[in-house]
């Protein structure tokens, strides 16, 4: 019994590694971070590993909703989504936790994971120095090894060990904890699960909204879903139309640098 859980925990840890932002093996971020690394996909994979696909997917959907708008720019992330997904969903299934609890578990693990991720980035400086030296010596093989292979050993260990252990040992803790937890706290977790996406979306807004008038578009998108059609494809199509019209407006104006006319004349 122990052995099976150990293998399962190991497998989950390995997938957590494969889905990490710097793992190269699945066409880099394309098949890794942005595919295997998403909680929705993690739900399916963990469900297969633990033998309960349906629960896995349902928890995957819940965690994905809370992390719908995580964003990684310039190497920084607001939450370590892969740790969060593999740690949280796996423990959620094992401890038979509700979606609210699973999301909260994920958030907690995501915060811890962010430390480990940053630790890896710090340690990578060492490999970087070796790669620089290889470049100076004209040693292409050295670059390839110090860029593509060695740092992955660290990354692998930093993911497989903690996540593997958490899954292997965590079930009991979580279950015991859940027995104690009053209804109020479960409710808090549900509330938090609903609030969390606000953070990621706020970060996206911070990236995209450059002037006050842009708020009109944000509120329009919100209103579309809430009042008109609760369907993201529909919204995307109408947004394309609006963006296209704005593009036309901008195209018609800028090609004519009239304000410069004075100089020309």
């Amino acid at each position: 019994m122990d052995i099976i859980l150990m293998i399962q925990a190991l497998a989950i840890g390995i997938f957590c590694y494969l889905g990490s932002v710097s793992s190269p093996w699945l066409l880099g971020v394309t098949g890794g971070y942005y595919t295997i690394g998403r909680p929705l996909v993690a739900g399916l994979i963990i469900g297969i590993i633990l033998g309960d696909v349906t629960t896995g997917i349902i928890l995957g959907v819940a965690v994905q909703a809370a992390f719908i708008a995580t964003i990684s720019t310039g190497g920084t992330q607001n939450q370590e989504i892969t740790y969060a997904a593999y740690g949280g969903i796996a423990l959620g299934i094992l401890a038979e936790a509700s979606t609210g609890v699973t999301v909260t578990l994920s958030v907690g693990i995501g915060v811890l994971g962010l430390f480990l991720h940053n630790l890896m980035m710090v340690l990578n400086s060492g490999w970087n120095r070796r790669a620089e030296n290889a470049a100076k010596k004209g040693d292409a093989q050295g670059i390839a090894r110090n860029n593509g292979i060695y740092p992955q050993i660290v990354n692998f260990l930093l993911r497989v060990i903690p996540i593997g252990l958490a899954v292997y040992l965590g079930e009991g803790f979580v279950k015991a904890f859940l027995d104690f937890v009053p209804d109020k706290v479960t409710h808090m977790m549900d509330v938090l699960g609903g609030l969390l996406p606000a953070l990621g979306i706020a970060l996206l807004m911070n990236l995209l909204i450059r002037e006050k008038s842009h708020f009109i578009f944000f509120v329009t998108g919100f209103a579309f879903i809430v009042f008109i059609s609760n369907n993201m494809i529909a919204l995307t199509i109408f947004s394309l139309l609006i963006a296209y019209v704005i593009y036309l407006v901008a195209s018609n104006s800028t090609p004519s640098p009239i304000s410069d006319d004075d100089e020309v004349i």
Partner: protein
């Protein structure tokens, strides 16, 4: 006259696609990933000139950072420039540097917001709708969908960059592309408005006694603006981040605090 073959380019693209962030550190990020991607190119072009070979490896080991999937266009452009240089054209290190630095910013801006802000959330939300009760079809759709779109995009942009060479810089950073990026920006804002409505969920538990009946406040809110509390939460979070310059982690703590206090006070 050394010439790059389709095979060299494919290898170079693959190296990039796989290893772009594999040794990421805070100070160098994709520096060595870029060098890794140039190895097949450099091997072919400078195989007979060890000094040029060495210098080329060094040249491409400097700081680099760009959204990796959209950014592959820079690798393509660089490959074509290296080819020209190997064939005698006078392209010195400065030009390589300026090509990279001028394109990194705009490409990351459009790439991060379009891929992480629009493409992935929209695909995910479709998949989640299908899989919401545990059906794996949605998940599979997402996996196949995303990998084929992003994989194709990355490959296509690399090859396009190689074809057009330095000339494509203007298409990337010129005025026309700025208008295009502005339009994508607006597209993104509209879509994340919708994401907010779909995913941020907050409802109040307050009930106001009104004669014999009780008034369920949330129902009243829903009657004129469903999702209003969610909208307020998002704008509040944005305000903390954008106007009060509070870090994401602190905002996370604040949201946790709100959940706890709100439930204790019976508001949520």
């Amino acid at each position: 006259m050394p010439k790059l073959t389709k095979k060299d380019l494919r290898k170079s693209w693959l190296n990039w696609a796989m290893y772009n962030l594999s040794s990421m550190s805070f100070e160098k990020l994709e520096a060595h990933g870029f060098a890794h991607s140039m190895i097949p190119i450099i091997k072919k072009l400078y195989k007979d000139d060890p000094e040029e070979y060495r210098k080329a490896l060094e040249r491409h080991s400097v700081f680099h950072n760009v959204e990796p999937q959209v950014g592959s266009v820079i690798n393509g452009i660089t490959a074509s420039m290296e080819e020209e240089r190997a064939n005698g054209k006078d392209i010195d290190d400065d030009i390589f540097v300026s090509v990279k630095t001028s394109t990194m910013g705009p490409l990351s801006g459009i790439g991060d917001s379009t891929i992480q802000g629009i493409l992935i959330p929209v695909l995910l939300s479709i998949a989640m709708a299908i899989s919401s009760s545990g059906n794996p079809l949605g998940v599979l759709l997402y996996m196949v969908g995303y990998v084929s779109i992003a994989g194709w995009l990355s490959y296509f942009l690399y090859m396009r960059g190689y074809q057009l060479g330095v000339n494509s810089i203007d298409t990337i950073v010129g005025e026309g592309s700025e208008r295009l990026r502005d339009a994508f920006n607006i597209l993104g804002i509209l879509v994340i408005g919708g994401l907010a409505a779909s995913f941020v969920k907050l409802s109040t538990a307050i009930e106001i006694p009104n004669g014999e009946e009780t008034l369920v406040l949330q129902e009243t809110l829903d009657s004129f603006f469903p999702g209003l509390l969610g909208l307020i939460s998002v704008i509040f979070s944005w305000y903390l981040i954008a106007k009060k310059r509070i870090s994401a982690t602190k905002v996370l703590l604040i949201l946790i605090g709100i959940s706890i206090v709100g439930v204790l006070l019976g508001i949520f």
